[in-house]
Amino acid sequence: MAGGKGKSSSGGRDHPVRAEPQHGSSKTSNQEKAQVTGNESQSGIASTIETVSLVLIAAVAFAIRLFSIVKYESVIHEFDPYFNYRVTQLASEKGVDAFWNFFDDRTWYPLGRVVGGTIYPGLTLTATWIHWFLKAALKLHPVEVKDVCVMIGPLFSSFTAISTYLMVRQIKGRGAGLLAASFVATIPSYISRSVAGSYDNESVAIFALTNTFYLYLKSIDTGSMFWGVAASLSYFYMVSSWGGYTFIINLIPIHALALLIIDKFNWKLYTGYSMFIVNGTVLAMVLPVIGFNAVETSEHFSGFFVLALMNGVALVKYLKRTLTREAYKKAFRLFVTTSVAVMGVVSLAVITFAMTSPTLRWSGRSLSLLDPTYASKYIPIIASVSEHQAPSWSSFVNDLRLAIILMASGIVSCFRPLTAGSLFLVIWGVLSVYFSAVMVRLMLVLAPAACCLAGIAMSDLLEVLCRSYHLAQPKPEDAGRKEDGQARRRGRRRNSGSSQQRGTIPRPLALLGISGAIFALSYHLFHCSFLGGEGYSSPSIILQSRTRDGGVYIFDDYREGYSWLRENTDYDAKVASWWDYGYQTTAMADRTVLVDNNTWNNTHIATVGRAMASPEESAWKQFRALDVDYVFVIFGGLVGYSSDDINKFLWMVRIGGGVYGDIKERDYIGEGYYRIDEKASPVMLNTLMYKLSYYRFAETVGRDGQDRVRNTKFGNPDVKLTYFREAFTSKHWMIRIYEVLEEPLLEQAH
């Protein structure tokens, strides 16, 4: 197995190295493309170069995400993917039908979870089918589900590159397309979600996103119903793979609305849009996880609203054509009054309907998008997730790099000329900037937009440069240009012409500019591959630290603890921990958990939070009531692993306190702020969480030793446990498992 792994990974190692120069070459070919699109419609040679460079870009997109395998091993990375992995295994063993009816009785004990109805099936089914294909068709029997899951990310990011290319080509011609594709292939913020082993919904969703946009734009460009159907199908895939589909279903109506407003309505737009909305909605409703939400929650209303509006406009236009002028005037007045009335009624109905639910029928997450302070006010669970926080500016620069810089100019160049497609890009860019500013997770939606805009900007730049370079030659450059009706072409011709008149920069400067652009691109690439290698490809379950002599030291405690649970506890044992580790425990340790990362039941999570925040005896009672056999905590105090349970503890208190009155946040605050040292509040020092974390800790670091995360002494050095027994503690104390003791056989008299 690992023999195979070794091979593939070593392949992975030299691949990027080998790929980069080629990538550079693909860059140069990109410039040729830029000017080719400028100068003549495609010739055979150009198209071959184009395909080759596209393939290379896809290869790079694949290769640049393999660092994690090279440096660590082919293993699933974060928390959530472990659930996807587990479900995929089930689907590939028991079949898709079993998957739809999967009632998971090993999580959310004792409630259980109906997985089939609450999961976005796109990712897992994709992986299942790929695996099945590899086995059945290609006869690669030893390939395991895990390997497929690990490779999904890179595979789909190369697809994303291709679909991005297609989309941007649709809008702004080939050069822009290739550049955009190369940007998207290497943009760090996307790499971070799609490295090999990050088997997460986003990794396929982004492909679905770009693909949907491509097909939609194509359909409103050609006005063909066929493409409309295709677009809605790809939207269906998006819906089935990520909750972020709401972005699409809102972005597209907004775009359509904008087009209506600037009076760019035509039958193509009508066809494409209505096809998309109708088919898309019906398809979305087919999914159990969406179901009636597709017509009931406010996220989806905008689509119908715009659809109605568009029909109105169509009708008006039709009347205008058929009726005589004065009749039309009257009719128009009439129509407007009635339609205004109707609209008023309808919107009133909708609003009342929306009012029926406290959140105006917005789901919590999207509400927290519209009102950034919402989550922290009302839903501590959502707020507690790190990726729902607002990002720092540095992360913008870090994750988007060149793209964010070029984005602005990209928007500008989208306005000359303003086609449906370019308008779409602009809206997408602006909206996603806002969203990503609210929620770091949505940086992912911004990334492709930024790439497309950056690609356009870069291609325009290069185009200008190359043209001015070519102008020096006597040969008139717009020889081969033929008439073609497409608005895009016309627009391009106009602006190229204008740029030609607008006097061109002297040749040396042009050369300088070109070389500068090349340098910028290659630097960008270098930076991205560096980030991809260093920053984003370290799994969260295997931690690494550099030793003084430059070697790597591996902390494998998570797997140590999980495998201990798996081997040495009863198969039906119930394991309690904070919800972050739920998926991993069910997948890696194969034990029943109380709560997991699918935070659908606030109360149950609060129960665990409360138990963790209670004194030992009452915690014992609570856990006994829930049939808990083992409790484990993550403790970083020995090796300075900062994302441990003590640091998450305040969230447990908040969430627990949100449901149970007996937990009050202020009791856990010592002298003004949250602390665990001598000044910590007695309640804090008495909680189960504290005791389990620091039990016998003093014996290793000494009574006045330091907690290496908090960098303080710890409040209560000698912790005694009477109702819990230390069952296992991993090598670096990162995972500490305790046994919940039985009731005593005899009750003593006192």
Binding site: S563, M588, T700
Partner: protein
């Protein structure tokens, strides 16, 4: 116990047989054991009893060619998993491996190397291995305690009901440590150092069972099951994967496992390392479990073998267990060759025991898969005695066939399986063979498959490129028709 020794003695055994046959006479000669010295080794996982039996062909005029030995009568209620007999020749320099066969449930008829003339005597060394009988005493300890184990009901005054008179006998117990908590006293018996000696006892001594309880520093590891998957590929190397289930059968900790305690004084009976030895040609070794690579392992490539020392994910505390898979590849040459017995057949011969040495194996399963489409496959254990064959008296030996799908297999490749139980480290090493007939043309299966795949892809591509205007084609025709 060397393999060489086994081989060298085969000829002698045959000679002995023929001789025995020659001098065979109907009348059974009476035998007396003038002296019996038994040395019981309790240091290992399994109980090894090495006894020097000095027999004398006393009364009776006929020669003595064989005698009946009943180890299971002498050692009550223990499970015999291996036994062999050697006879010192007069010079006492080198020994002859004696032939024996099972007689009655638990006795063996041992035929001597040479016939004993009346009155003459000789010494036969019996070497018996019994499945582990050590039990932790007490069953639960604290982590700071020592690990005490005991053996119970051992007969120190051997009386063979069958046909032997034992005139004098001594039984020595070798213990792993000098810390002996308890031993049943049967005069004369004494404890000196790591040794408990019972006897010498005369013929009139009453039979008596003894218990011993003593400290055992080493972990009581056992491989409760190991499945060895050997895959012979027609192109690549021989691939071996061993799926282990190892557990520590020692006394459980009543107070749980404390990392502090373990760091302070790691008790020697907590197994924190496993060593594996594979042939020196082995390459691309790996060690994984369900959760992925077990990172903490390193290999030393020695002259005669590759030695891998692996640290399990967690220290194997008494009562804990772990599953993992160890795999490596071997080049074909040296292991796979032409079958000497069956012309035109290839024969793979490998060591049957798994890579982890020195630990009792409760169940061993070997699945040897040979390339797809290879015909009349045979396989089994290469055994010099009754052991490991179908008539193995002391263990179940199951041989079977199966099929397995591997890289680029269409129908699956034939597999020979062999299941053995109770294999101790003290057993002379044992080899496994599989032999099959393979048509070399089949070597090009993979290539042709690749070609086929390529063709298919090509066709698909062309079809796709055509399929664009098949969309309208028929309809437009229909329109034309109308």
């Amino acid at each position: 116990m060397g393999m060489g020794r086994t081989g060298s003695t085969l000829a002698r055994v045959i000679a002995a047989l023929s001789l025995a046959a020659m001098v065979w006479s109907g009348a059974e000669a009476a035998v007396t054991v003038t002296n019996l010295e038994r040395e019981v080794d309790l240091t290992a996982d399994s109980v090894v009893v090495a006894s020097a039996i000095t027999i004398k062909n006393d009364k009776g005029g006929s020669n003595l060619v064989d005698f009946v030995w009943c180890p299971l009568e002498l050692v009550k209620g223990k499970k015999l998993i291996w036994s062999e007999f050697d006879q010192q020749d007069q010079t006492g320099k080198d020994a002859t491996r004696l032939e024996w066969k099972v007689e009655g449930g638990d006795c063996m008829r041992v035929s001597l190397a040479g016939a004993l003339s009346p009155g003459a005597g000789t010494t036969v060394e019996a070497y018996e291995v019994y499945a582990s009988e050590l039990v932790p005493v007490p069953a639960q300890i604290r982590q700071s305690d020592k690990q005490m184990v005991g053996i119970s009901n051992f007969e120190v005054v051997a009386r063979d009901p069958a046909n032997l008179v034992i005139e004098s006998q001594v039984t020595k117990f070798y213990l792993p440590s000098s810390n002996v908590d308890f031993y049943t006293k049967v005069k004369p018996s004494q404890l000196k150092g790591k040794e408990v000696v019972y006897g010498p006892y005369g013929a009139d001594q009453a039979s008596s069972l003894v218990d011993l309880v003593f400290e055992r520093p080493e972990p009581m590891l056992e491989i409760s099951s190991v499945v060895r998957e050997i895959t012979v590929s027609s192109w690549r190397d021989v691939e071996v994967r061993e799926h282990y289930h190892v557990k520590n059968a020692g006394p459980k900790f009543s107070d749980g496992f404390s990392r502090v305690e373990f760091a302070r004084n790691p008790a020697p009976y907590i197994a924190n390392q496993l060593t594996m030895r594979v042939p020196r040609q082995a390459h691309s070794l790996f060690l994984v479990d369900v959760l992925g690579n077990i990172t903490t392992s390193n290999a030393r490539f020695g002259q005669d073998a590759v030695e891998v020392t692996a640290t399990p994910r967690f220290p194997l505390v008494p009562g804990w267990q772990t599953h993992f898979t160890f795999g490596y590849k071997l080049p074909k040459r040296g292991f796979l060759g032409a079958d000497p017995e069956r012309p035109g057949c290839k024969r793979l011969q490998l060591e049957a025991m798994p890579a982890i040495k020195g630990i009792l194996v409760r169940n061993l399963t070997i699945n040897a898969a040979v390339p797809e489409f290879s015909a009349d496959v045979e396989g089994g254990a290469v055994a010099s005695t009754a052991f490991f064959t179908d008539e193995d008296p002391f263990r179940t030996v199951k041989a079977g066939t199966a099929t397995k799908k591997w890289w680029l297999d269409i129908s699956g490749r034939p597999v020979r399986t062999l299941e053995l139980s109770e294999l101790s480290a003290e057993i002379a090493d044992l080899t496994f063979y599989v032999s099959y007939r393979f048509n070399d043309i089949m070597e090009f299966k993979e290539v042709s498959m690749f070609l086929a795949a390529w063709l298919a892809a090509f066709l698909a591509a062309t079809l796709w490129s055509r399929s664009d205007f098949t969309l309208v084609g028929p309809k437009s025709k229909k329109l034309k028709a109308t």
